[in-house]
Amino acid sequence: MTEIDTLHILNKAPEHPRSAECLRAIEPGDVLLLIESAVLTLATCSDLQAGITIYALAPDVLARGIAHSTAEASLVDFAAMVELTVQAQKVISW
């Protein structure tokens, strides 16, 4: 993994107002990690802009039964989530 400016960790469902705020705040060089209810964003197809690097926590994806809808994101385990927080200059938990 290369160095990351800001790692945005989002745990809110797409309906939550903080989800839209998070997606608006992402800049080139940032990375988005979807966890918990936020993995449902991958099932909506439309909420994610192209061109950002997206990861999603695999246990949360599997729990929601959406492993087939995750083309936009790379699935990661907790070890990789730790590594993302190491690589990032700054981490924001939305």
């Binding site: 209810s37 099932a43 909506t44 246990p59 039964g65």
Partner: protein, 116 residues
């Protein structure tokens, strides 16, 4: 007529939906008429193939599949929310009735309770 439990919160990330299911099953156990309406992010409770071992929670998929057998009168899913989340009969638990207009489903019941 009867009670409609409305679940609009997503599965596993919050507990409210799970506890609303318990309420519905409890009414059914006492032979009271009850139906469930899933809407918003809550429709994701209805997706097939939920594998929850990795998050340390029990899946509710079996409970939902058995809801009609245990006396819940209907499982309604808001059609707009299902479309938004890519939910179609093929990837949903069986026995779900699509509701084109959930406000109409709400009007048809005399007692409405939300999940938290």
């Amino acid at each position: 007529m009867g009670t409609l439990m409305v679940i609009d919160q997503p599965p596993y990330g919050t507990w409210a939906g799970r506890e609303a299911l318990d309420m519905a099953f409890s009414l059914a156990a006492f032979d009271q008429p009850v139906a469930l309406l899933f809407t918003g992010a809550g429709v994701n409770w209805l997706r097939k193939s939920q594998e929850t071992t990795g998050i340390g929670q029990k899946s509710v998929e079996k409970n939902l599949s058995a809801a009609l057998i245990f006396g819940v009168e209907a499982l309604y899913a808001d059609a707009t929310a299902c479309a938004r989340y890519g939910l179609v009969p093929d990837n949903m638990v069986t026995g779900v009735a699509m509701a084109e207009n959930s406000a109409e489903v709400i009007r048809q019941h005399s007692h409405i309770a939300f999940a938290g």
